[in-house]
Symmetry: C2
Subunit: 359 residues, 2 copies
DNA sequence: GCTAGCACTCTTTTATTCCGAGTGCTAATT
DNA sequence: AATTAGCACTCGGAATAAAAGAGTGCTAGC
């Protein structure tokens, strides 16, 4: 059933006032904004309550939005916000910095998101299964060589191998051709014991080194698969009045800080590529999030990699502003990481022009 | 002035009871433990108060230790604690895991420390100025090569360079000898514009690539200098009764989470190699820490690197247990990172035997 | 030098009252 | 038929008052 225009305006006003003040909203205050008497507002609010969009903490308090009310607000009522010039400038400035490591990038992005939104934020990246494209071996001295692996996602991993016995230059060369022949194009799960054993059989006098390099290869692929998750600004929670109760704050902060818990819950709210998703209160799967909301945006991190950034806050979150900021940051990241045709890891620069500002 | 034996026992009992319960300690409860009447205890406590070791929150409450009281307790009264078998096992288990990246190691160590002590913990590493020992260049294809740098601290850095124009194998070889001649043994501050310019003059047709590789070299050295600082378990604070006041909790958590703030304050409390240092309440420099205590241990991370782990908590911290745990973890890390003669970055394993357990 | 006893202090807890914001309903108005 | 004014009623929160309790400091006796 479609709401009357006036009901929509009232619901919007209630949501926005409650978001701003955290106080239940009474009929008198709204009368001015809506342009009719408080009695009329009362009637309307009473109906909105019956429909499930508003709730009353107790008989003689104002109304607050129910989860359904927030949902309606987010889906239909909320105005898309534009960021101010200062805000876009701050974001662009941060994103311009070159980043080498995906890990560190996630840290920075998390911090940026948190400081822009004033809520705890997280950033993560999901990678497609990788394989090793090529191996190189650098002979350093009789006891030392370096293995370098170039992965299909264009990251480069290396390892300094220090041996208790000595090797010749030629042995290292043998190793190189051995691994380039047997271990390239192989994914994580395809490195089996039998592959290692057959390589060892072909290894001749470099037999003893195969296991070392193979375990390095497995490490590389495992590291490439692991999705770094970074959480930033968890302490921001404490400035929200709904978390003045230290026990509540503690419970949620624990949940947020525990990467693995968060990780396992997030897929449920992951938005489609370049999308934005809001889950409100009880819509969240995790028990700890039933009184909180999550806003999450995804971006294209290039090379088939998908990145996510998100924000956790009370259901009374400033959805409009958070959505605008997340979208803008996510768009910036997509551009930074996938926008140019250079592989990740190079010094791509992002300069979003004013005209491209997210609307 | 030296305290009587009985005064020491009373002070110890007050400190330990207050650490355990967070409640001011009255004379009656102590009477049993000390073995004399409550009136005697009252007289003694009154003197301890006059001497500055105890404080009274208000006239009709028990006594709590003053910072000076904690100091005396930590310096002279506290018993060195032994860890339980389960605790040493848990620590050893965690430390056995091989770590490649210093960054990630700091994360893990921070989490371990926090979960063992139940306080927020941080871990950081301080590195000596590094230089590049040698460069290697791997030619991938006409537009792509990889630079690999082996640093004096035995870490290896790399970068995939993707070019908008094509290069020959020989040019890459030229680059290699060029950089090995001019940029090895050079520290951070010694890479000057004039060095880059003179290298460019010698570069012939690889002129345009010098800047790219030089900036990579600078990045490497800068990254090697930067001390990664990781904070873990900040939310543990909220379980401490002294932080039931959300504003206090917020202030301290902000401070703790802000790496740069923490970083600038820590040197003041850094203990000597393999030492342990406790700073209590007002002994801390940072205003935000005036009501908190910091326990910090250092370890030898090999290759001249020094590592620190520490714990932040209320002045009412369980010094004895925290000190024991930090020492044990720090000793384990020293052994893990510097104990074997293999360079950092290899798969050293740490297995502390029972007989070597920290006492 | 230690201890029992007691008056006194000061916080914490509990009970009670009061106040006001806000509602829901009814009757009057447009 | 929708809106508004008016009014009695509800209920949580602030304020006040009273009671309870824990602990001290002092004095006098052992």
């Amino acid at each position: 059933m479609e709401l009357s225009d006036r009901k929509k305006r009232i619901l919007t006003a209630v949501v926005e006032s409650y978001i701003a003040t955290a106080e239940p909203v009474g009929s008198k205050g709204l009368a001015g904004q809506i342009g009719c008497s408080s009695a009329t507002i009362r009637n309307e609010m009473s109906e909105l309550t019956a429909m499930g969009y508003l709730e009353q903490p107790h008989t003689s308090a104002g109304r607050i939005p129910s989860p359904a009310g927030y949902r309606l607000y987010v889906n239909e009522l909320m105005e898309r916000q534009k960021l101010s010039e200062a805000e876009t400038a701050a974001i662009n400035d941060k994103l311009t910095k070159k980043q080498q490591q995906i890990d560190q990038l996630m840290s920075e992005v998390g911090q940026l998101t948190s400081s822009m939104t004033q809520y705890p934020a997280y950033a993560m990246a999901v990678k497609p299964p990788a394989a090793i494209k090529r191996f190189d071996f650098i002979y350093v001295d009789a006891n030392t060589f370096i293995v370098v692996a170039l992965l299909t996602d264009n990251t480069v991993k290396n390892k300094l191998v220090h041996l208790p016995f000595s090797v010749h230059q030629e042995q290292v060369t043998t190793l190189s051709s051995l691994f380039n022949a047997n271990f390239t194009g192989v994914t994580d799960s395809e490195i089996t014991d039998s592959l290692i054993r057959s390589t060892e059989r072909a290894a001749g006098d470099t037999y003893g080194l195969v296991a070392v390099v193979a375990s390095f290869a497995m490490e590389c692929l495992a590291a490439a698969k692991a999705a770094p998750l970074r959480v930033a600004g968890a302490s921001q929670l404490l400035s929200q009045p709904e978390f003045r109760d230290p026990d509540k704050a503690h419970a949620l902060m624990n949940f947020i800080s525990d990467g693995s818990r968060l990780m396992s819950d997030l897929p449920a709210v992951a938005p489609e590529p370049n999308g934005l998703r809001v889950t409100i209160g009880p819509e969240n799967l995790a028990e700890e999030l039933k009184d909180s909301s999550v806003v999450m945006a995804s971006y294209d991190a290039g090379d088939g990699m998908r990145g996510y950034i998100g924000v956790v806050g009370p259901t009374r979150m400033d959805y409009s502003s958070v959505a605008a900021k997340l979208s803008y940051i996510a768009a910036g990241l997509s551009r930074l990481l996938a926008g140019s045709d250079a592989p990740a890891g190079l010094d791509n620069k992002l300069v979003l022009k004013e005209s491209e500002r997210h609307e």
